[in-house]
């Protein structure tokens, strides 16, 4: 049980901590700010806020370097293997899921990371979003066949 050892759990805590701090510092916990990025209709009037792009691009670059490093290694430091999704088909589930998530994100301005980090501040009605997100996630699992879920779920 590698995943109950102290270095493994410390790594999880360090990663979660950096993630939560990053969401706060970048203001991505502010639903209005995220919606001002998604509101591309404001581009002509100069009211568009491109900040979100300045968050995600450096994050991708750093993770890209980490992935390059991992390609030269057999295993991560504290587990026996990298849990990388093997399934690579672009299917209806992927696209349909992305459509539903896109509607939800555009309605609320928060995605799962900010929604959870906001527990620190418990804004009004946050619990409704969290509870329904959990229910939705469980409902969604009923549409995913078990073998498929297992292959995919390993990594995410």
């Amino acid at each position: 049980m590698a995943n109950l050892k102290l270095p493994y759990l410390t790594t999880a805590a360090l990663s979660g901590g950096l993630f939560g701090a990053g969401l706060y510092v970048s203001q991505m916990v502010d639903a209005t700010k995220v919606l001002r990025f998604l509101d591309v209709t404001a581009i002509p009037s100069g009211g568009w806020d491109p900040s979100l792009a300045f968050v995600i691009v450096p994050a991708i670059v750093i993770m890209f370097i980490a992935v390059r490093i991992s390609r030269r290694r057999q295993a991560p430091l504290f587990d026996l293997a990298f849990h990388e999704p093997e399934y690579d088909r672009i299917d209806r589930r992927l696209v349909g899921g992305a459509v539903l998530f896109g509607i939800g994100w555009g309605m609320a301005g928060i995605c799962p990371g900010p929604a959870i980090s906001l527990i620190a501040f418990m804004p009004d009605d946050l619990w409704i979003f969290l509870l329904t997100m959990l229910i939705g996630s469980y409902a969604g699992s009923l549409f995913v066949p078990s073998g498929h879920a297992r292959r995919l779920a390993d990594a995410k």
Binding site: L38, D39, I62, D79, D125
Partner: protein, 150 residues
């Protein structure tokens, strides 16, 4: 444009990238928040590290608000989420419940959100993630345009 904050955005983005790199190189796990959250449900097998990760996330946001008063949100704690757009006749709690359900279902069957597909998937050059990111960004932008929420 007065709300545009490129420096703190990039700094926060670096922290998020570092978080993803640490989890990947340390534990070989993808820092996809919808997955870490969604797999707390049965038949969950590896609950402990997921709980540790999520608790650390909440604690760090809490501490950042108090220790970094001059950066990011500047100690400003979000008191509310965004109210439902007027004109649709839907009360905000119901609006958020619909958004939460769609986010939960969508990230489960699409297998990822802004972090798992957006940061980690694109960094892995995953074709699935490229498609997912293009679709959910486009749909979210369309949703904002249609609802007029901001």
């Amino acid at each position: 444009m007065e709300s545009f904050t490129p420096l703190t955005a990039a700094l926060g983005g670096c922290l998020i990238g570092l978080a993803s790199a640490v989890l990947w190189l340390g534990n070989g796990r993808i820092a996809g928040i919808s997955g870490i959250f969604g797999q707390l449900l049965p038949p969950a097998q590896t609950v402990v590290w997921r709980l540790v990760f999520l608790l650390a996330m909440v604690a760090a946001a809490f501490l950042a608000a108090r220790l970094l008063p001059s950066i990011g949100m500047g100690g400003d704690v979000p008191a509310t989420l965004v109210p439902a757009p007027t004109g649709w006749g839907i009360p905000t709690p119901v609006w958020l419940a619909i958004a939460g359900l769609l986010t939960g279902i969508g990230t489960k069957i699409g297998n990822g959100c802004t972090s798992g597909h957006g940061v980690c998937g694109l960094a892995r050059l995953s074709r699935r993630s490229m498609v997912a990111v293009a679709v959910f960004f486009a749909v979210a932008m369309l949703t904002v345009a249609v609802t007029g929420i901001v």
